[in-house]
Amino acid sequence: MESLSIVNVIIVLTIFFVSLGIAAYETYFERVVAAYIQDRVGPDYAGPYGLLQPLADAFKMFFKEDFMPAKADKLLFVMGPGLALFTALLTSAVIPFGDSLIIGGKEYLVQGIEVNIGILWVFGIVALGVYGILIGGWASNNKYSLYGAIRAASSNISYELAMGMAIIAIIMTSESLSVRAIVEQQHGINWNVFYQPMGFLIFLTCAFAECNRTPFDLPESENELVAGYHTEYSSMKLGSYLFAEYLNMFVTSAVISCLYFGGFNYPGMDWVHATLVGLAGETAGHNIATFVGLGAFFTKIFFFIFLFMWVRWTVPRFRYDQLMNLGWKGLIPLAVVNMVITAAAQLSGSPLIGGYIGLAIFLIVFVLLWPLTKPKSRML
């Protein structure tokens, strides 16, 4: 068993604080993106370009009255936002942020912990993410909060299935459950998204639903449920809920980039590594190459965070029955088909060509059979 060293501790703490910092600045970028899309100015009072806006928000949240409903379940009411934050932070433990750092002749992985079941851990914690919302919504002792919580739970359960089956297809292509092994297989530009285009779309849709982001933010749809599960929350407890949502977005973007977009891999990474090793020596060159990989990974993460925001300010919210129909009648059958195609492609010997032939056959069959289905049973 490896012994823990001070470098590991520093890496874990850095990952922790970087996730918090990025989550805080996501709130700022959300406003900037929203302002850009709606042709407004956006935050520009607090600091240059409004860069201190997250700090101002946090202060505002802290100084507000912390209100608790008279008939609320006191303990659970406090536990709800805490649990939401806790589960949001747990996932980043197994995400490989970068390759490895060589310090003092020893190699340290830029990752919280490398386990051989990493992707299952992510999946398990995502499944737990709903408890914070569920408990908080119930403990508020308010009908609208309860409805929001119930909606969150049901959409979470429904989309978890399709998400799990998309992950199974990924596991089949990479033959490992460790996130690091999955990432390392996508060396260079050998990314999984080329093998799994349909799986990626399914996973992305489910990720939106699991994060309760628009167009699936039914748990807090303000035109039906006031504010959903956090109706009764105020002050920093509300802040924790919102913060947990942004943390989830960050972690989900990281998971998507790891599974489908190669994590810290980028085209030409071998050349960069060789050149840097030639320029700066074995150890320093390797470390700098690792940091370049980190940069590539964070670029991908920021792109997906931007995608989350882009969709939020572009696509209107689904109706609740549409959400359920899309999940159960649309995505789950698609995920099963994707699984079958992936399995066949793996067995055929050439996963890439086999996968695309399978997808083409599926599309032809689907287009031919679509007019034969009854209009009533169609999804959406």
């Binding site: 079941i117 119930w138 919580a149 119930i150 739970a153």
Partner: protein
């Protein structure tokens, strides 16, 4: 007492946590609290699995029990909206008598079992610490135990079809 290794400390703390969760499950009057204690129990059980180097079992326990089944439990109980006095069945005499008979029987069976069963201590020199890892688990399941595994899958399929049958609407029945 204080010469325990860190693994032993972890084990005892987890054991206390598990028992606390189990007791809380049966002793709290509010059904929602019961479910939450049960989730705590599942979590500490998963931690026990990790202590025994069975990571796959631990994570599957979290995904299936703590993640899916308990969410459904919470879901249903929240909809039922039980009041605390409705759950107070322990006041009835018949319930108390039945509970003590069942509890006593189980206790006797447990004691008899512990006296009968001779636990074989495993030899630490020949013990394969990787036995709980997913690779060896998969090899066991798909090589040595393929028939039971397939039979269990058929059982699951039948259960799924049954659930769909129960849940499907009869003709002309409305949604709400």
């Amino acid at each position: 007492m204080f010469s325990l290794s860190s693994i032993q400390w972890a084990f005892y703390i987890l054991a206390i946590l598990t028992l606390f969760g189990g007791l809380g499950t049966i002793m709290s009057k509010n059904p929602i609290h019961s479910v939450l204690y049960l989730i705590l129990t599942f979590f500490s059980l998963s931690a026990h699995y990790i202590l025994m180097n069975a990571q796959f079992l631990a994570v599957v326990n979290i995904i299936v029990y703590a993640g899916a089944i308990m969410v459904l439990f919470l879901f249903v109980i929240m909809f039922l909206n039980m009041k605390e006095q409705e759950a107070n069945e322990l006041k009835k005499n018949s319930t108390i008598i039945a509970a003590s008979i069942v509890g006593g029987t189980i206790g006797i069976i447990l004691v008899a079992m512990f006296r009968q069963v001779q636990t074989q201590p495993t030899n630490p020199n020949f013990y394969d610490s990787q036995i709980g890892m997913i690779e060896s688990l998969g090899k066991f399941l798909y090589k040595d135990y393929i028939l039971p595994f397939e039979l269990v899958s058929i059982l699951f399929l039948v259960a799924m079809v049954g659930a769909v049958m129960l849940g499907s609407k009869a003709k002309g029945e409305r949604d709400f």
